[in-house]
Structures are given as C-alpha cells and as structure tokens.
Amino acid sequence: MASRRNSASSSRGMSTPQTSCLLKSRLSQRFTPRRFTPYWRTPQSRRVATAVQSTKGRRKAVPTKSKNGSDSSADSADLKGFIDKTWRVYKLSPLYKFSTAPKDLKRYGQLLSSCVEAANQKITIVESNASGKAFFCVQKELQNSKDDPAAIQILIKGRKATANTDSILLTATLCGVEMEDNLLNPEVKEHFTYYPILLVKSTVALTDVLITWLQRHFDCKISPLIFPPVHLAWMIAMWSGGLANSKRKNKPVELVYQVPSECEGIKKITYSIEADDCLRVWNSIHDTREDIFTEEEMTTFIASMEEHFYSLFRIKLNAMQLSCVGTALCYIGREGLLKIYSAEHVICILRHLTELSVEHFMLNM
C-alpha cells in the first residue's frame, strides 16, 4: 500500500490512497485493461455546461435543445429561487408509494406540519411557539424531459418571535433532471418514485426533521451526496468555461485545497484565478465546438492549474485534497454544499448532480 502511495504522489495524484489509486489509474488506464476506481466507474467524458445536447454522450439524446436555448430567459426567471442560496445536497433511494396527486401532497403537508409541531415541543426549532406549517407543491420548471419525475418543492413556513409575518423556515426540492427511463426494475416501477437528489436549505435541526419524516414515510434512505476530489476536479474543469458567452463580470474561479494534518498551522489553501485567465486556459485545452468534455482534457486542465501554482510558490497542490471548488456558475463543497450563482445554469448543474447520484444508485443494477 505504502509503496503505491509514494509512487502515486511522486508521479501525479492526491494525498489519500483512494484518490491516488484513482488518479493513477486514470493516467495509466491506457496501459492496463483493469481500472481500480474505488467506488464506482466514472465515465470517460461528460457534457459541458454550455453545450447543447448531443447524441454522442453517454446518455440518450433528450430533446432539451429548445428549452435550453430559446426559452432560456423564461426558464431562468422561474429558476431564480435556486440561486444565491446555500443548499445541502442529499441523495435518496427510491421513495415507496409516493404520489404527486394534489390531494396527497396536501395530506403530506398536514402530516409534516404535525411532525414539525411535535419536534417543536421537544426542542425549539421554530424560534417562537408558533408552529411551522408545511406545504408540498409541484415545481414544473425543473421537469426537463419526459422521463423526469415531477419535481416537488417542500416549504415550511413559520412566524418568528420578532416578525409579524410568516417567513420561510425551510426550502427543499426533490428532483431529478434528465434522467434515464430504465433506472428502476420495470416490475416494481409503479410502487416507487425515484428522485436522485434532494436540495435543502434550512437549519440542521429542521433538516433532520424533514429527513427523518421522509425516511419513515416513504421507506427510503437519505444520505449526504459527498463529492470526492475527482468529482470536484471534473466540475471545475467542465464549468470554468461555462461563462464563455455570458457578458457580466464573472466571479473568480476558486479551488480550495485541504492541507494534510501533518502540516501544522495551515489548514487550507485557497487558490483563486481570474475567470478570464481561466477561460483562456480552458479554450486552449478544449475545442469550443465540441460539447463533450473528455477525461483527458479534465486531467490536463487540473494539471496545468496545479503546475502554475507550483511554478509560483513551489507547493505541490496535487498532493492535497480538493475540498471546495467555485466557478461563476456555482460553488460546491465536498460535504454536499452547493450555491448556485447563475440562473441559466441551474438545470445544467442539477443535471450533473443527478448524474452523480444516479452513478451511486447504478451499483444496484
């Protein structure tokens, strides 16, 4: 084990043994037929943020072009609710006997309200005694292809002690964007509804209440969607170029590396680059006409960033773990934190998260 780790870090890789195997195998893949990706196999190419759907991708072609292209202004207005909020991302197993009929959604709302009320008595979640009221509703704007389940928005409203009006205590969204049709066993399909991701914005206590409630009622398991460094590397590589055609002033591209615990006094290194500089690198690596981003391009992109840092500061970033990445599109943390900045890219980001969550799920198949 030890010898492999050394060789990995000396050649190219990150500090944990897992990722070192991962990246090493990524590089040496051409030579060995077997790859050792510890958790699951990541695809060799992914779709880029800006690109329209193509049939070359790993996935089936889904007719989204018109939606993404022409109505994008209408869409992005609807999706304003997603931006500039810090979400926590969770992955779910299929929900048993979940129904999106308005009658049922109303009933779920009542049940969740009473659950919040009960939790309220145990510990003060809602700041005053006024109880939280829960609402379930269908969020149409997230449904991007015909196979997607109807996205569900969950709101819990309550009154704070100081304010006179109700405020929103919890916002959550159950969704899956551009999913494939055949994820569930066809024999049991009518019993289950599969939402790959759940976004929640609330306090920890209230989030716990919601998750416990969902788990109990729909016999599912909800766990945080964790992004290993290699996934973060993918995201930054794909999305740094995503601002190519947006006019406004862009946020800088940011990479946060966790310093190994052996180095005392320093915990993380934040590496931020002007978006335009980053775009230049991106353009030189990636052919803008091409809408598929390959694994090779991803490795090259990350390596060039890290090499640049090394030439300036003599610090090998590739020996550290990537823990957060930020682009003009969004900011994503390792532990499932997400903040979206650009309304036009909400669908694209959620699509990618859906893909990642489905990759987890596909183990089963």
Partner: protein, 701 residues
C-alpha cells in the same frame, strides 16, 4: 338479615332516591339510612344491573346535589357486570350541561374503575369518543385521557385529535396523561405522532381510586359465579397492549439516533386511515399491523392480512419479520429492502469519514446482516455489490471476520466478475499479510465453494429448469452463466493460491492444514456434492507429504483415497449414461491420479522412492543424482513424520535395553500400520488396504 329483607331494603332505598322530588339534606334520617343501605349492600355483594341503571340516572342528573350524587356514584359497584345502558346514560348526561364538573369527573372515575367489567365494550368504544370534546376542560382532562387511552381503537386515531392534544400540551405544559394518550395513538400510528415518549415514565395514569378499584375487584371475586369469559379476554387485551407499550417505550430511544437500522413500527406505508380502510375496519377486515403480532403462530394464522412495517429495513432487527420475509416475500418488499440496504451500507462502509468510534455500530449492522443472510440461506445481491466496491478499498483489518463471512455468502457470478471483484482484492491481501490472514482467506474461499456446491448451484438449476416463480427471497438479475466452470476456475484459483502461500510461508503447518481442508473438499466434489468433474491438485500436494507432521502424509493418503472413489463413481456414472461431463478428461485424470497413488506406494511401502523409473513421478530424479540408499528414507517407518511413532512402536515391542533401529520395522510393516491406526492415524492403513494389498494380490494371482 335474610336476603329477602335485604332485597326489600335496597329496593326501598333506591325507590327513595328515584321517587323523591326534593331531598332535605340536613338531619334527614331517611336519607342517611338509604345511603347506608346502598353502601352496605354494594360493598358486600354489589348491585344488580337494574339497580345500577336506576341509580346512575339519579346520580348523573345531579338532581339531589353534588354530594349525594358523588356518594351514590361511589356505591355503584357491579355485582357481576356493569350494564352498558348505565354507560350510555352516564355519557348522555355528561353531554348535557346538567351535572356539575365534579359529578362529571366522578362519573369518569367510575367508568375507569369499572372498565374491565363493562358488558358490551364495543358499544362503549363507539360512544367513548364523544368525551373527546370535554378534553379542554382542565378538571376532566386527566380522566378523559385515561379513559380514552383504554378505549382507543385504530380508527379513532385521527390527525385533528393529535393536533388538538399537541395544542393542549403547549397550553398546559407536558402532562403525563396527555403523553399517555399520545403514546397510545403512537402505538397505532407512529407517523402521526412524532413526539418522543420519554422512556423513564412508566405510569402515565396513576390511579387515585386504588381503594375503590380494589373494592370492586373484591366484590367481583366473591361473585365468581358470574360468567367472566368476556372480562378475561378484555383483561388479556389490556395486558397485551401494556406489554407492547412498554416494549416500545423501552425501545432504543437513544440508540436510534446513531443506529441506522430503523425500529419496527406498525404504521403502514399508507399514511392515514382512508375512508375505505375505515369501512374495512368496520367490517373487521383490517390488516394487522406487524408490531402487534406477538409470535410466529399468529403470523402463520393469517399471513395475508399482515400490514408491513413502514420501514422494511427494520427486518434486520426482528427475527419474526425475517421469518415473514422468507415466507412470503414479494418483489416490492425485497426492492424496498435492497434500496435501503444499499444506501445504508454505502454510507457506513464507503464513506471516507468513518472513525473508529463508528466501528461497533457498523460491526453490529454487519453481524445482523450476516445473521439474516444465514437465516434465509442465500446471499443478498446488493450486499455483494457493495462488498465488491468495499474490497477494493479495504485495508484488510476493519471488520475482517464479518467481511470474510459475507464473502462466503456470495452469489454465483461468471468467474471473470468474481475474479475481478472478490478474488483479486483478496489475492492482494493474501500475498502481503501474515500467515493467519492467509489461512482465513483460504478458509473463507473454501466455504464459498461449499456454499456454491450446496446452495447456489442447486438453486441455479432449479431456477433455470422449472421456471418456478420464486426460488429465493432476493431475485438476482437472471444471468446466464455456467456454474460449473465458475466453480472449476475458483478451485483452480484457490489451488494456485495455496501453492503461492505455502511457498511464501515456508510450508507453515497451519496453512498446510487449511490447504488440506480445501483439497479434501475438492476430492469429494462428485461423491458428496454431485459436481461432475475431478480436479487434481497441483504439485504443492507433495509439500503435505514431506511435512514433518504425521497428519500431512496421512491426510494425503486419505485425500488420494477419496479422489479414487470420486473418479470411480464418476466413471461408472458416465459409462452408464447417468450424467454427462464435458469437463471430465478421463484419461488424463486417471493417469495423474495413478501417478500419485504409485508414488505414495513406492515411497511409503515399496522402498522404491527414487528407483521406480517412472519419469512423470513427483519424485523423479536423474539416475545418479540420488543415492540408492535414500530409497528407504521416505518409508513409513523412516519418514520424518513417523519416526516418533516408530520409536514408540519399538519401545513397546522390543526389550527395553535394546530397542533397535527403526529400520528393523521393515519386515513388520503391516503390524506398524495397525499400530498407527491405534494411534488414530487411520488413513495410512486404509490406503494400504485398499490399494496395495489388492495390488499385491493381483500380482500374486
């Protein structure tokens, strides 16, 4: 006093209360006499049903004032049963605003006290929820809660009632009686009542009327003659409910936070009682919530009507539910379980944030999973998938016993899949760890082989041949594979692994033991498990022969014997066309087996270890490389493993002063073999009897 006089007295007394318009309270002798009579009679033998009905009308109407009403109510001790008409009267008077709060409270206390003796309880249950409207009355709340918690049926639990109670709790603060009623509700619908019931409080409703209750019981005990069957059943029911309640209360309230396995709870996945199910409930066809099933007998009586727990993952906690699952599992149920299990296991095992603090928890999940797997006698496909991933990142230390046991329960896969996901990681572990882990690897893979031979292959054939709908709890994706070739390749892999291990560990005797276990298993593949092939071990088998432990050569003889039996049986069956075996190359196998048998004979018995002249022997050396005298070196009596036995043999048979040299045993080999058998090394003699004697006989013929 004779009973006739007594009867008349009480009649008069009741008459007095019923008839009299206005009763003067102060200094009224007739009043006090009448009260005394009723009190006495009720204390001694209880009141008859008619008396109770007429008195309760008087008392509940409160027409003679609170004091008299309360005193009368105290006297309403039933002789046998408490008439349901009296209950109806009491409730209807309560619903009018005639009686005062005090009388209402008293009536409630009465109903609680005589609850077990009320004759038609279902009527009472139907009426009882009228009382819910009094719940806001602070004076009555404790009694109402107590009574309702006794009365509540499944269909009585409604969301608005729960809300009302919760609101009340916010108003009054946390009161034991409200929590008591809520806990009863929670028993039926845990999804409606998400409040945590404190496990410390066991008594929600302390009885204030202990004396009264014991008095009623005494009177009842005296009047045993009355039919008590219906009471018994209701007493039993309340007993049972209390038991479930306590089991729920003592349930893992704190542990649940960290333990990902859900507790079994009775709510169905249907969220509330819908109208249709209420109708069904009235028609007495409601499904029984799983949590209320006490034992397997009840389960088997009505398996169709069982309502599944809302979180199937709870199966790992409840052996009873495991029985149920193996008895009638359907696809949605196993899917729910698989989905839950996959995400839970992934989170527990593959999450990079595992700290040693979580180990006991994960260990217990794995243990429960193994238990379940053993119970249903099959591997769970999802577990295999997670295991495949986990083995690639496994450090070989964490949860080792559990991981190895999960490996032994692996399902049948094409060998390439098995090799990539299980054998390859285990091989890596094997070559770089100590001999003890090597032994574990060999052992668990041998057990995997056994599992394949005894469980998985028969099931595979069953599934493919008869097209039965279900032969296992967890259906795996029907993959066409050749189970025999998987097993053969696995044996081949294991055989090579043994060779490498023995070389690395310098023929460690413990490892040798496990290798021989494996070889013994393989040697019986057809005789015991019906696998139509013979796989002869590679050359590492000679290491067993050359070991300095007597068991090595002895077990080798045993193995050879059973190979021979295996071969013979297979040959017979093939020639009589019982089976087909494309994998069995008869000529080569028999030839190699003969080499082994001849080698053993030559070395142990015939003193021709190196001069037999067979080029393909295991002990073939170029002529001249070995001294002729060495021929004797591996004989039975000179072999390093048997030397101690030789000396022992000599000591027993020869005079003490000169026991001589083991070489002397040469002529008494037969005796020596018998001596070894006495020392529990049977295989040598059996081998020689079965091969060599016959061989020699055939020569002499």
């Amino acid at each position: 006093m004779s009973s006739a006089v007594e009867d008349k007295n009480i009649k008069d007394a009741i008459e007095y209360f019923v008839k009299e318009e206005k009763i003067k309270k102060k200094g009224n002798v007739q009043l006090s006499l009448a009260l005394k009579t009723i009190d006495d009679v009720s204390r001694i033998k209880g009141l008859s049903a008619e008396d109770i009905i007429s008195l309760i009308g008087v008392a509940a109407s409160g027409c003679h004032g609170n004091d008299i009403s309360c005193k009368l109510i105290k006297c309403l001790i039933p002789a046998s049963v408490f008439p349901v008409r009296a209950v109806e009267l009491a409730i209807s008077y309560m619903c009018t605003s005639i009686p005062s709060n005090k009388v209402q409270a008293m009536l409630l206390r009465l109903l609680i006290a005589v609850f077990d003796y009320i004759e038609k309880k279902n009527v009472f249950q139907k009426l009882g929820y009228l009382l819910f409207y009094f719940i806001e009355n602070t004076m009555l709340t404790p009694y109402i809660c107590h009574l309702l918690s006794l009365l509540t049926r499944r269909e009585d639990v409604r969301l608005f009632r729960v809300r009302r109670l919760l609101e009340l709790q916010t108003k009054l603060g946390s009161q034991p009686y409200i929590i008591g009623l809520l806990s009863t509700y929670k028993l039926y619908f845990p999804n409606l009542v998400s409040i945590v019931i404190p496990s410390t409080r066991k008594q929600f409703f302390p009885t204030r009327d202990r004396q009264w209750c014991s008095l009623i019981r005494e009177v009842q005990d005296q009047n045993q003659a009355a039919d008590t069957a219906h009471m018994k059943s209701s007493l039993e029911l309340s007993e049972k409910l209390r038991a479930t309640e306590s089991s729920i209360m003592h349930g893992p309230a704190k542990r649940r936070k960290v333990d990902p396995i859900p507790v079994i709870h009775c709510s169905s996945s249907k969220l509330t009682v819908k109208l249709s199910s209420r109708l069904a409930a009235m028609l007495e066809e409601r499904p029984i919530p799983f949590v209320q099933i006490p034992d397997i007998g009840t389960l088997l009586r009505n398996p169709v009507n069982v309502e599944l727990p809302s979180q199937i993952g709870a199966a790992l906690r409840s052996p009873l539910f495991q029985c149920f699952m193996s008895y009638c599992a359907d696809l949605p149920m196993t899917c729910r379980f698989s989905y839950w299990l996959q995400d839970t296991l992934c989170q527990e095992l593959l999450d990079s944030t595992i700290t040693p603090a979580c180990f006991p928890r994960i260990e217990s999940i794995l243990e429960k999973l193994i238990e379940f797997s053993e119970f249903i006698q099959e591997g769970i496909p999802v577990v295999d998938q997670v295991l495949f991933l986990y083995l690639h990142v496994w450090n070989g230390l964490d949860f080792r016993p559990q991981v190895f046991r999960l490996v032994t329960r692996c399902r049948l896969y094409p060998f390439s899949v098995l090799n990539e996901n299980i054998l390859e990681p285990l091989r890596k572990l094997f070559v770089r760890t100590s001999v003890f882990i090597k032994c574990q690897v060999i052992m668990s893979l041998t057990q995997l082989l056994r599992n394949y031979a005894t469980v998985e292959i028969p099931r595979y054939h069953q599934k493919s041949s008869e097209a039965k709908p279900r032969v296992c709890v967890f259906e795996d994706t029907a993959e066409v594979l050749d189970p025999l070739s998987t097993v053969q390749e696995l044996i081949h892999f294991l055989d090579r692994l043994c060779t490498v291990g023995l070389t690395l560990e310098n023929n460690h005797s413990l490892l040798l033991h496990f290798t021989l276990n494996f070889t013994e298993w393989v040697s019986e593949s057809y005789v015991r498990y019906g696998l139509p092939f013979v796989y002869l071990p590679s050359r590492h088998i000679t290491k067993a022969f050359l070991s300095d432990n007597a068991l090595g050569p002895a077990r080798l003889c045993g193995v050879t014997q059973s190979y021979k039996r295996n071969c013979q049986l297979l040959r017979e069956d093939i020639s009589s066309n019982k089976i087909e075996s494309p994998h069995f190359n008869q000529k080569d196998t028999v030839h190699s087996l003969n080499i082994l048998i001849l080698d053993l004979c030559d070395t142990l018995w015939r003193k021709k270890a190196f001069t037999h002249g067979r080029i393909d022997s295991y002990f073939y050396f170029e002529p001249g490389h070995v001294d002729i005298e060495a021929n004797d070196g591996l004989s039975l009596y000179l072999h390093q493993a048997f030397l101690p036995f030789s000396v022992l043999f000599l000591k027993e048979t020869q005079p003490q002063e000169n026991i001589g040299h083991p070489m002397g045993i040469k002529e008494y080999r037969v005796l020596f073999a018998e001596f070894l058998q006495r020392e529990h090394i049977d295989e040598i003699r059996n081998f020689i009897l079965n091969t060599f004697m016959r061989y020699r006989k055939s020569i002499s013929d």
